[in-house]
């Protein structure tokens, strides 16, 4: 399956991109997605090992199972207001 991964703010600057797509085995979790991304090497290993993540615009934890076509966002610490 394939998921779309979005990056924002400081992550976007570190990686030099606002999004990427990742192929994963069926049943992969958010945690496995993060590991897969970090395993690409520099600069992807700058992504924190346990970032806050949103799946289809809702916060999810590392054990959340992903589905084909999910929109996954890496959420740096938020600072609204």
């Amino acid at each position: 399956m394939t998921v779309r991964v979005l990056f924002f703010a400081a992550h976007r600057e570190l990686l030099g991109t606002s999004e990427t797509t990742v192929d994963l085995p069926d049943g992969a979790t958010v945690g496995e997605l993060v590991q897969t991304l970090r395993a690409r090497g520099a600069p992807w290993d700058l992504i924190p090992s346990r970032p806050a993540v949103a799946v289809n615009r809702r916060y999810a934890d590392g054990s959340h199972t992903l589905g084909n076509g999910d929109e996954v966002a890496m959420i740096p610490p938020v600072a609204g207001g």
């Binding site: 809702r58 966002a73 600072a79 609204g80």
Partner: protein, 146 residues
């Protein structure tokens, strides 16, 4: 009645106030967040607000719904600005009206505190010396399963 928006347009406090209030309410609270000229002792010249706009819209609607519930179903309106703001400009406006003041303050406080914990918005400060930095934020918690 609840209303929320995330926008790049300047915030008009009067328009936000106009979404709450009425003859059955004895209290109206309007909170405005504005861009301050210093942070941690460093002189600030302006602020860039970035957001995950689609999610921020949804999250702000949820937060405003919670605030209305806290206030017994009272009207709550909130808007958050994105884009480049000058000093003193309004970054967030929250209006609540309730029959009595206590729940209006409580609901308004809920909205701003939850924005700071959950809204996927980031700010980059521009300093007077020409440098910029992302404001240190809060790591949002995963949602608990329904």
């Amino acid at each position: 009645m609840v209303w929320s928006d995330v926008t790049t347009e300047p915030i008009e406090p009067g328009a936000v106030l106009g979404r709450v209030g009425g003859a059955s309410y004895g209290a109206v609270v309007l909170f405005l967040g504005t861009v301050r000229n210093t942070n941690d002792g460093r002189p600030v010249s302006g602020m860039e607000y970035h957001g995950y706009e689609a999610m921020a819209q949804e999250q702000l609607a949820v937060i405003v719904g919670e605030a209305s519930e806290i206030a017994g179903g009272a009207p709550v309106a909130a808007v958050h600005r994105l884009g480049t703001l000058a000093l003193g400009e309004i970054s967030v406006a929250i209006a609540v009206s309730t029959p009595h003041r206590a729940s209006a303050f409580e609901a308004s406080r809920h909205v701003i505190e939850e924005i700071k914990k959950r809204l996927p918005v980031w700010k980059k400060e521009h300093y007077v010396d020409g440098r910029t930095d992302w404001v240190k934020g809060i790591q949002p918690a995963p949602e608990t399963a329904p």
